[in-house]
Every structure is written in C-alpha cells, then in structure tokens.
C-alpha cells in the first residue's frame, strides 16, 4: 500500500515514490526512468515506452506519440504537426479525438486519446507495482498550468479507469520546485524562482515566489514552437547536409530516412550534453548507404544557435509578465530533458546577474536529472497527502483556503545606519509570522521604525581597467561593464515602537500578520521573562 507521483509529459513520463532514503524514481522493466509517452499497435501486440518509439522508423503510422496535450481538447485547437511523423490525430467515428491504426492487413483499430491515456497510465502503474511489490493506493499527477477544467476532468477519469486513484493534480512547475526546494529544506527560505520547463514539444515557464514555505505562481508563459524537436530538426538538417555532401544523396527524401535522422539526432544531442563529442552512426540512411560521422559540442551549438538563442528571450518574457526584473529572481530552476544541454543553461545564466543561482546539470554538479524533478515533486506531494482523507484534501483545495492575501510591498524596519532591513518580502501571504534578532545598545531605550520598502534599480558602469602590459593596445574587446543592482530604501513609515531600558545585547523583533490582515510588531529582549513591547498596524 503506497502512493506514487507521476509526471505525464507529451514526450516522456516518469514515476517516483518516497523510499526510505528519500524520493526514488522508478524505472520501467526496460530500465527507462524517462519513459517515452508512446504506444504502438502492431499486429496483435501493444508496445509501450521506448519499445514503442523504436517502431517510428518501420511502422510510423502505428505509433502514438505526443497525445498528452490532446486530452479533453477540441479538434480545432489541436496541433496536428505534433503527430506528423507518427499515427495522425483525427476525429474518430465516435466523435472523439484519436488515432486510426491499421494493425495488420485489413484490420484496423481506433484508439481515442482517452483510451491511449488509460493504457499509458496502466503501463506506468504496472511498472510501479512490479518494482514496489505493493498495490498503489493513490497517485499525484503533475499537469501543465494551462490545463483547462475539462482536460483535468478527462485526465482524472482516465486515471481512475487505469486503476489509479488521483489524490491531487498539481502543476508541473510547483511540483518541480517542491522537489528541488525540499532538499535541505530550502522551502523555508523566502525566494523568488523561475521554473523553466523545456520539453520535447513545448516550453513552459513560471515565476513562483516562495514565502514562508507557501508557493504562489506570479506568472506563467508557454511556447509551443520552442522545443527539443526544433533542436533535433536543426541537428538532423546538419547531418543531412553532411550526408548529401559526401554521397550526393538526399537523406530527407522519405519518411523512414527522416525518422532515422531524428533518432540519431536525439541520441547525439543527449550524448553531447555529457561529453564533448558524439558519434553519429545510421545504418542505411538513404539508398542503402550507411552513414558514420562524429560531431563535437561546439559544432552542435553553432548548428543549433538560432534555436538555442530563443530560450533566454522566452525566460525573460515570463519575468516581465510577472512585473519583475531579472534582479528579483533568486534562483532559476531548469526542468525537462532539454535542460541537460549545456549551452541552453549557459545562455539562460547570461540573462541573470551572477548572484542568481541557475540550477542546471551543466552548471551545478549536485543538480542532476532535471527531467525527473516533476515526478519527484509529485511523489513528495503524494507522500505528504497519504495521511489525509479524500474529504480533507478536497476541503483544502477550496478557494477559501487557496485564495489568500499577499502583501504588495516589502515591510521591514530601519536600522541604526538608516538602512532598510527586509522582514516580510513583497508577495508574502498571510497569516505569517517572522522574527529576527538584531544587535542593540545595552542600557538604553531602543527605537524600532516599521516601514514599507521602496526599491529602485541602480546602474553603475564599470570602465574596464586598462591593461598596461598589453602589446597590441590598439584593440581591446573589453567593454564598459554595466552592473545593475536593486536597492531597497525605507519608504512610507508605518509605525514607531519604543523598547524601554534594554538590558541585553540583542533584541528580537517579530512581525506577524493574522488572517484579518492586522500586522502586529513585537519587540523584546532576548532574555527569559522579559516584557514585550508591541503594537498593531492595519492595511489599506
């Protein structure tokens, strides 16, 4: 009896559960942790995962891929290019959206998107049950933030049909952030994150503020034309060009060659994320000619430059959408298989100041497997929900619990030097309680000024230091560097609190806002049995 978390992607899916020593991602019997979300029907057999994907070369019309986004969608809104290289999405005779598949001579099968989802989830469930040796009592599934109510409904129905009781649907960026921040209990730190999920067929990004351990999504963005398939296509073009140069043969003349190119490109791209050069080996690419070549990382980055350069702009757009500056972002979390690509991570790192942490495998060795983060977060949430009954969970998801008030400006106090000290950051949700200890002169009365923080962005230009021992000093590629800083200054004064006759080295100041929005400020000496000085501030 256990619960699992599932990340259900268009390209791949993952299963995770809470083991004794932390979250563990479950591999399917083929040893895949990122299980391709694919099904294929050939003759009497059904294939799933990587085995199914292997049929793209020989039986592309029997392979179902990229169907997650089609769940509960209307046919008009579907992107049919997603299934161009496999079984085509069409409207079935029943009126549902699905796939018409010819399994063998004269026999055909109609599989709706919902049926495919059920089969896919069943396969995932079997993998989990086989691995754990236990029945699954509940599941948390992560979904994109733009899933509509009807899509959620259809997914829950499909999941129940597959024998998986859905405890909760959570959004993918939140799941990823939960998994990431739960390490070392980083969730308790008040930070603002960008969670960027770069997948096979779409990119999503969200700005999430974490205040007092509570996550609030400030903005989301989706881009369906920014994806791994684009990178693969650029690489495939490169290989095809090389092939043509060598053999004067068009490697993109038939669907099978194109499928082989795609397969080789994916493999090369994944290899190049870890090592600096990869071999490309395709048997009978076109006209029965085998192709062998190698590509290094630099060549790959040059080939895919135009695609890679679009990702930072996308991340910047979501920060703008949240009315924030890149300086406000404390950490960028890169999720999805594409995040393994070193150039992609470094391009995004260039966008942010050096103080911003970029969580990507190529920049931080502690950070591994970005494609598994969502499943890990879902599993974590599932384990947390295990002790709650279904009613309790349903109650907690009511708007009255979810829609909470968030303060719009940072609140803090003024120190002896006249500087603003943040206590509650903006977007802090309440009820909240926060205290901090500050040094204070002994034997005197102390003033605590409560203010709202005003911020501004300061730009300082640092001229490059001229290099004196430079031989060719005619040319210098160093440009003046612009350093941008966010500065907080005390804004409107909310209240003043006096602490009389301080007898200790330190004073503890506590800010707490109750559910009615009353901010109470308490100051006391850090000594047992001391009297506390306090006051209350209302909001507008």
């Amino acid at each position: 009896m256990t619960v699992i978390g599932i990340s259900f992607g268009n390209t791949t899916s993952s299963i995770a559960h809470l083991a004794k020593d932390g979250i563990e991602v479950i591999a399917n019997p083929d040893g895949e942790r990122a299980i391709p979300s694919s099904l294929s029907y050939i003759a009497e057999d059904e294939y799933h995962g990587g085995q199914s994907l292997a049929h793209l070369v020989r039986n592309p019309n029997n392979v179902i891929i990229n169907f997650r986004d089609s769940i509960g969608q209307s046919f008009d809104k579907l992107d049919l290019t997603l299934t161009d290289r496999a079984a085509k999405t069409t409207q079935l005779e029943s009126g549902d959206i699905g796939f018409k598949i010819q399994t063998s001579e004269g026999e055909s099968k109609q599989i709706s998107v919902n049926e495919a989802t059920v089969r896919h989830l069943e396969n995932l469930k079997h993998a989990a049950v086989d691995y754990l040796g236990q029945q699954i009592t509940g599941v948390v599934i992560a979904i994109p933030t733009d899933f509509t109510a009807s899509q959620k409904e259809q997914l829950v129905a499909a999941s129940e049909k597959a024998g998986l009781q859905v405890l909760q649907l959570i959004s993918e960026p939140s799941a990823a952030l939960l998994a990431h921040a739960s390490i070392d209990d980083k969730l308790a730190e008040d930070k603002t994150y960008v969670v960027a999920d770069f997948g096979g067929v779409r990119s999503d990004a969200a700005v999430i503020s974490v205040r007092g351990g509570i996550l609030t999504v400030l903005a989301t963005a989706h881009d369906f034309s920014l994806n791994g398939d684009n990178l693969d296509a650029a690489l495939a073009d490169h290989i095809a060009a090389e092939f043509k140069k060598k053999y004067q043969t068009n490697a993109k003349s038939n669907p099978r060659s194109i499928a082989k190119l795609k397969e080789a490109s994916v493999l090369a791209r994944k290899t190049l994320s870890n090592v600096s050069s990869a071999t490309i080996s395709i048997e009978a690419l076109a006209d029965g000619i085998d192709f062998h070549s190698s590509i290094n990382r630099l060549r790959f980055e040059v080939t895919c430059r135009s695609v890679l350069s679009q990702f930072p702009a996308f991340v910047e757009s979501v920060v703008k959408k949240a009315n924030l500056d890149v300086l406000d972002i404390d950490e960028v979390l890169l999720v999805g298989g594409l995040s393994n690509t070193p150039k992609l991570a470094s391009n995004i790192a260039d966008l942010f100041p050096e103080s911003t942490v970029i969580a990507a495998p190529s920049l931080d060795t502690k950070f591994k497997n970005p494609e598994e983060l969502v499943a890990r977060g879902a599993a974590l949430q599932a384990s947390l929900l295990e002790s709650f009954s279904a009613e309790e969970i349903a109650e907690s998801l009511q708007p009255v619990i979810l829609n909470t008030q968030h303060i719009s400006k940072a609140i803090g106090l003024v120190d002896a030097a006249g500087q603003f000290v943040t206590v509650l950051k903006s977007e802090t949700t309440y009820p909240i309680k926060k205290s901090l200890k500050l040094a204070a002169p002994k034997g005197q009365d102390i003033l605590i000024t409560v203010v709202e923080g005003e911020h501004s962005i300061k730009e300082t230009v640092i001229e490059p230091t001229p290099v004196s021992d430079d031989e060719d000093d005619e040319y210098s590629d160093e440009e003046p560097e612009v350093v941008r800083e966010k500065i907080y200054v005390p804004g409107s004064k909310l209240a003043e609190l006096a602490l009389r006759d301080n007898q200790s080295e330190e004073v503890e100041v506590t800010f707490s806002i109750n559910k009615d929005g009353v901010l109470s400020v308490t100051a006391r000496e850090v000594k047992p049995g001391c009297v506390a000085f306090k006051g209350e501030i209302q909001h507008n």
Binding site: L80, G213, V217, L384, P399, V400, T404, K493
Partner: protein
C-alpha cells in the same frame, strides 16, 4: 545590523502607528508542500467558513493569466484567392497575409511570427481539412510552411521585405489635394524600413524646427538602403546538365538585381525631391529666412541710416531756413518797393502840395507871374530832399496864401543858404 537608540523627544508612548500598509493582493497559492498542508489544516481545524467568507475569498482574485496571448495577432482571415494560390508559385503570394499578419508586416517581431505560424498551422493542417471532407488540400499549408521558412530567417525575410509590395505606401497623387504631413508620413515610414541606420528620423509635423526638417531630408538624400532584389530572381536551374545556361541565368539575375537597385535608388531620390519641393515647411522656412535676412539687413544698416537721417534732417532744416530767408527777403523787398512807391506817392503828393500852394492861392494875387512862380517852385521842389519836401508840404497844407508864400520864401532862403539852389535863378522869390 543594529537598532538605533530612541530619540529623546519620542514621548511617553511606546507605540505610534502613523500609516497603514499597502493594500494586499488576493492570489491563489499552490496547494503543494508541507507548509501548505499545515496552512490548510490550521485554517480548516475547528473553523466553519461562513458563506460570506467563502464568497469574499472568490472575489478579486488576481490569477495568473492563462488566456490567449495572441490578441496582438488579430483574427485575420485569408481571402479565397490566397487559399487557392498555387504552392509552386508561393513566391508570388503575400507571405504576411498567408500568416495572417498583413497588418503587421515588417513590424512583426520574431515572436509574433512564431505565434502567427503556429496559429495558421493549427487552422490549416491538411489532416484537419481532410477530416472535414475533401482531399489533397495541403496547397495552402505548403505555402504557410514556405512563408514561415522565409520569414523566420532574418536574411530571407529581408529579401522578402525588400519586395513586399503590400508594405509599400504610394506617395499622394500630385494632382489631388492632400495634407502634406498626413499624406507623406506613412510614405517615409514605409521607406524608412529599408534604412541600414536605425532609428530613421520622422517627417515630423508643421511645427517641427528647421534643424529637424533639414536632418530629415539630408537623411533621406544620403539614404543607406539594405533593399535588395534577390527575391525576384529567376530560378537558377538546379541540374548541372547545362552549366553555361546556369551561368547565363545567374549573370542575368545579378544584372537584373543591379538594375532594380539603381532604379530603386533613383526612385527614392525623386521621391525625396518631390516631397522637398512640396513641403510647406520648406516654403515657410524660406519665407522666414527672407524676413530674417531683411531684418538683419535693417539692423546692420542702422548706423548709416541714422547718419543719413541726420543729414536729411539737416538738409531739410537748411532748406527750410533758406526758404524762410528767401520769403523774408522777398517780403522785405516787397515792403521796400511799397515804401518806395509810398514815398514816391508821398513825394508826388508833397510836390503837388507845394506846387499847388501857389496855384491854389491864386499865385498870391499875382497871376501875371504865375509861370515864373511855378518855375521857381519847381526849382525849389527839385532842390528839396525827401524830408524837406515832407516838412514844407506839411507846413503849406491848409494855410492861407500869405502864410504859404512866407513858408515858400523861407524854403527858398534855406535852400539858397545851403547852396542847393542858386539865388540867380530866383526872380519872384528873391
């Protein structure tokens, strides 16, 4: 960080609230993580929510926008002719209209292009068409792909933009009546897209200063255009069967491009020339310049003008004085003549009075000597000067004959005594 000391004038109160904190924003939180579950449990435990609170919680929630972001692309529909366009002739189609962004054209950003492409792909995918009945309707889809292929590549896009007739704005017809600024601003805006130098100066309005207008025209006279005409090239045959023919076509293309480029440059120069000649501001500036010049001249000549004025004034004064003097002189002359005449008349009168003094008194009873008396009196009169004449005339006036005779004798005596009359000629009065 340490806390400041309480100022001495703080007062006895321990807490002073001066303001309220800014209004909070209601947002949905993410129902994940142990902190959320703790929050939910805390909120739910022993708490029954009133209907009021439930309703309040759903009001004014600032949710993340998940709505359609393609509002800026509009809902442009392709016209029937475009939908039936031959995909082999895709180069002749309006590629922006194909992507449904003919209102944006060269202004469309890469992001907008991407989104527009996706939008059209969702709509015109051949499988969707065939699902609605009818096969082989992928012609337009091919054009969409070609359009995106062309426009997504900055180099190819520039080539297409160069010959994008849909974006050209024709100058107003010279015969029609139009407002200069209104008619020409879009023309130059459209031309400006070809400039290598960006931003391009604006035409401005009627109140633009001269420096701006001049900068505008000099910019367009020295226009550095990236416009090129590769897009209109004749297709170079791909097969290597006839290399000469291929090279011939290539050469032809290069020549055609060059020709078109030259024509385009000439066209722009003509356009700017025409605009310059029509620009009411230029006329205004010219007029202002002229006025300014005159004013300057006026100012510059202030010194000599003052001297001339003074001279003229002096001359006028002199002339006036002269005239006055002349008039005076004439008046004096006239007066003198009159006096003279008067004196003459008086003389005549006096002479007559003296002559008559004898005649009227019957020659003193001595009419026989009348001739002699008259002669002698005439001598006397001739010898008198004007004063004496007047004196004696006055004396003889109205006196009787004897007195008159005595006066005359006295006169004769005085005249002979002074030697003006010789006693020898006197007979009667001797």
């Amino acid at each position: 960080m340490s806390l400041p000391v309480l100022p001495s004038n703080f007062g006895a109160e321990n807490f002073k609230a001066t303001a309220k904190f800014s209004a909070p924003v209601r947002r949905p939180i993410e129902p994940v993580g142990r902190y959320f579950l703790a929050h939910a449990t805390r909120s739910l435990r022993g708490h029954t929510w009133s209907e009021y609170e439930k309703i309040e919680a759903e009001k004014n929630v600032s949710t993340v926008d998940e709505t359609n972001e393609d509002a800026d692309l509009g809902d442009e529909e392709q016209d029937a002719a475009l939908l039936l366009h031959d995909p082999r002739e895709w180069k002749t189609a309006d590629l922006y209209a194909v992507l449904g962004i003919s209102h944006l054209r060269w202004r469309a950003t890469e992001d907008q292009l991407r989104r527009a492409h996706r939008k059209q792909v969702l709509k015109h995918h051949p499988d969707k068409k065939s699902a609605k009945g009818g096969l082989d309707q992928d012609g337009f889809f091919k054009i969409i792909q070609k359009a995106y292929e062309t426009l997504a590549d900055p180099g190819k896009r520039q080539q297409f933009d160069s010959v994008d007739e849909g974006a050209d704005v024709l100058p107003p017809s010279p015969k029609s009546e139009y407002d200069f600024i209104e008619a020409w601003t879009p023309v130059f805006e459209a031309e400006g897209r070809f400039s290598k130098k960006q931003p391009v100066p604006k035409l401005g309005d009627m109140s633009s200063p001269k420096s701006e207008v001049d900068a505008f025209y000099s910019f367009f006279y020295n226009f550095d255009s990236w416009r090129s005409f590769e897009f209109l090239d004749e297709d170079v045959p791909d097969d290597s069967s006839n290399r000469d023919h291929k090279r011939y076509i290539e050469r032809k293309n290069v020549a055609a491009r060059k020709k078109k480029k030259t024509e385009d440059n000439a066209r722009l120069v003509e356009l700017v020339k025409r605009a310059l000649s029509e620009d009411p501001r230029i006329k205004l500036f010219k007029q202002q310049e002229k006025e300014e010049k005159e004013r300057k001249k006026w100012e510059r000549e202030a010194g000599s003008r003052a001297a001339a004025e003074a001279k003229a004034k002096a001359e006028a004064e002199a002339a006036e004085a002269a005239a006055k003097a002349k008039a005076e002189a004439e008046a004096a002359k006239a007066g003198a003549k009159k006096n003279k005449e008067a004196a003459k008349a008086a003389k005549k009168k006096n002479k007559r009075a003296l002559r008559n003094a004898a005649k009227d008194n019957d020659f003193f009873g001595d009419a026989a000597n009348a001739e002699a008396i008259e002669n002698e009196i005439n001598f006397l009169i001739d010898s008198f000067d004007d004063e004496q004449l007047a004196e004696y005339a006055a004396k003889v006036n109205g006196v009787d004959a004897a007195a008159a005779k005595a006066i005359l004798i006295e006169g004769f005596k005085a005249q002979t005594a002074s030697g003006k009359l010789s006693a020898s000629i006197l007979k009667y009065f001797a």
